[in-house]
């Protein structure tokens, strides 16, 4: 044991390799190879009668996806709502993160931080379900509207409901990295900007926003990706025409047992995310994670 440890200490590369071996094997075996398997599977088809997977290489699944506009609409809806949620969260996070970074005392800052972290880690299903009850016809929202003498709203089970719920679910993921980026901006920089004659608004636009961009981009990875890959929220608060890519994937695996077709549709979010991560990387998101 001692001699082994000593050998490893004298050979840094060997030591790194021995530390990294197990996690690396796990990652390759259960993540990278699984992703590769998804690609392979997407090129297979299923026998209509027996439900058996037919090995062999064909683009049939992709042809169906490209030719049937239903899937195009689903893909556009998924990406569109993911973008809308990301933008909304990006806007909502600003005042909160700004106050945390610039105006709150250290004590209050720690408290606000804890308050933002709590919903982030508390049950996802519980929070979606809460909105299902709130937006339902006889839910809290309509009760409150009625109490105020306003007409009742029927936004439950619609794309609007999904937009609200996703925005709610992922907001902490945007606030935390944005706060971290804002906190790192030295006050001297802001003073310099105002000494040089830039008014508050101009300092904000020309100094604060560019420096906060990596944090914003880091948050945008989570808000976008988490929305893009969801199917539970569309099922629970969406309406009849609220299907996401995830819903098609889910029902093809669970109900129709057509794993190759599901795998083919799942390739799309992978490509979208690859492009998205490249842009986010340009904006410096990876240094702000």
């Amino acid at each position: 044991m001692t001699t082994l440890a000593a050998t490893l200490w004298r050979h840094p590369r060997l030591r790194i390799a021995s530390l990294l071996a197990l996690p690396a094997i796990w990652f390759v075996a259960f993540y990278l190879l699984a992703l590769a398997a998804m690609f392979v599977s997407s090129l297979h088809t299923v026998d209509d009668l027996s439900g058996q997977i037919l090995p062999g290489w064909t683009l049939a699944n992709f042809r169906i996806l490209a030719s049937d506009w239903t899937y195009g609409r689903i893909a556009l809806r998924t990406v569109g709502i993911a973008l809308a949620v990301t933008i909304t969260d990006g806007l909502l996070a600003w005042p909160f993160a700004y106050v945390m970074a610039r105006h709150a005392s250290p004590r209050l800052r720690a408290m606000l931080m804890a308050l933002v972290m709590l919903p982030l880690w508390s049950s996802y299903l519980a929070r979606v379900y809460a909105w299902r009850l709130i937006l339902a016809h006889d839910g809290v929202l309509n009760w409150a509207l009625h109490g105020l003498g306003l007409p009742t709203a029927s936004i439950g089970y619609s794309n609007w409901a999904m937009w609200i719920v996703f925005t709610y679910l992922w907001l902490p993921f945007m606030i935390l990295p944005l706060f971290a980026a804002l906190e790192r901006i030295p006050t001297t920089l802001l003073e310099a900007s105002s000494d040089l004659g830039a008014a508050g608004g101009r300092t904000f636009r020309r100094v604060i926003v560019p420096l906060a961009l990596p944090g914003l981009a880091a948050g945008a990875i989570f808000t976008f990706s988490l929305t893009l890959g969801d199917y539970v929220t569309p099922l629970l608060v969406g309406g009849p025409s609220s299907d996401f890519i995830g819903n098609v994937v889910y029902s093809n695996v669970g109900v129709s047992n057509n794993v190759p077709f599901a795998a083919a549709f799942a390739v799309l979010p992978l490509l979208v995310m690859a492009g998205y991560l490249l842009i986010a990387r340009r904006l410096g998101a990876f240094d702000a994670l």
């Binding site: 044991m1 440890a5 000593a6 490893l8 200490w9 030591r15 790194i16 530390l19 990294l20 197990l22 996690p23 796990w26 259960f30 993540y31 190879l33 699984a34 398997a37 998804m38 392979v40 599977s41 997407s42 909160f96 700004y98 106050v99 105006h103 606000l112 308050l115 933002v116 709590l118 919903p119 880690w121 508390s122 049950s123 996802y124 299903l125 519980a126 929070r127 379900y129 809460a130 009850l133 339902a136 809290v140 009760w143 907001l171 902490p172 990875i221 989570f222 990706s225 890959g229 969801d230 199917y231 099922l235 995830g246 994937v249 695996v253 599901a262 979010p269 995310m273 991560l277 990876f286």
Partner: protein
């Protein structure tokens, strides 16, 4: 110029936005009624008692705890190993490992789920307890890794060097110097990993066979509109159960922040 008052006002509004839904769902657990309407007419704890005696819920809860414990143990070991390795790496190697570690949480869960499902189908591996654990352990590892890496970055390497100079071997130095210094980050990471696994539903639907974890039970019940009063109570318990490890984790991370003043 935006007034400071307006800024503080929006902070309060956002906090309400974040917490009112949670408060409402917690209240529903005490509703006496079968119907999920608002306002709640009569409050009672009768559904808590019914839920407590529901065998299905108990089995699901137990399975979720088992999965979360096993996934957390795997994640703690692998996350720590990877963090220790990456700390010693420079250049490309470091960048590749850092990037790989982001993937499982940066890519949508449906991808992880779908990828693992096609993988198991391709190999002809039946879905079981262990396939659920495999799915969970991967993203849990990332959580532990992130926590430990952040801590290691702030530790001066001179401490381990000093320990080695004083005659302690690498293993002894790790045990007596590095481990105590990363212990709270490790603990926080493990607790967060547990909370994440305990609550996971998107990947789990693709990696579970006949097994029903607690989130799968909740999801199924809501979708079918069955046992809704029980769902309220289970959700109450789940929030309470996940908040405890998260609060402890925050304390651990908070005490670490003051460590270096």
């Amino acid at each position: 110029m935006i007034g400071r008052g307006l800024l503080w006002f929006s902070v309060v509004v956002i906090l309400l936005f974040l917490f009112v839904p949670v408060a409402i769902i917690l209240l529903y657990a005490f509703s006496d009624s079968n119907i999920q309407g608002w306002p709640i007419g009569v409050y009672s704890v009768k559904w808590f008692i019914a839920t407590w005696h529901d065998g299905e819920v108990r089995a699901a809860l137990w399975l979720s705890i088992e999965v979360a414990v096993v996934a957390t143990i795997i994640a703690t070991v692998f996350g720590t190993l990877a963090a220790l390795a990456v700390q010693r790496m420079r250049g490309y190697g470091n960048e590749i490992v850092s990037f790989a570690a982001v993937l499982p949480i940066a890519l949508p869960g449906i991808l992880t789920g779908m990828a693992l499902n096609s993988y198991f189908v391709l190999w002809g591996i039946g879905l079981s307890f262990w396939t659920i654990v495999i799915g969970h352990a991967t993203f849990c590892t990332v959580i532990v890794y992130n926590n430990v890496v952040a801590r290691l970055r702030r530790l001066p390497p001179s401490w381990v060097e000093a320990s080695m100079d004083l005659g302690a071997g690498p293993w002894r130095s790790f045990r007596l110097v590095t481990l105590p210094m990363i212990a709270s980050a490790l603990g926080a990471g493990a607790l967060l990993a547990f909370a994440l696994s305990f609550d996971e539903v998107i990947v789990t639907t693709f990696t579970a066979g006949a097994q029903t974890t607690l989130p799968l039970w909740i999801f199924g019940a809501i979708r079918l509109g069955q046992h809704l009063p029980e769902v309220n109570c289970v959700v109450f318990a789940v929030i309470a159960l996940t908040i405890v490890p998260v609060l402890i984790a925050q304390r651990l991370m908070g005490s670490a922040a003051t460590l270096h003043k």
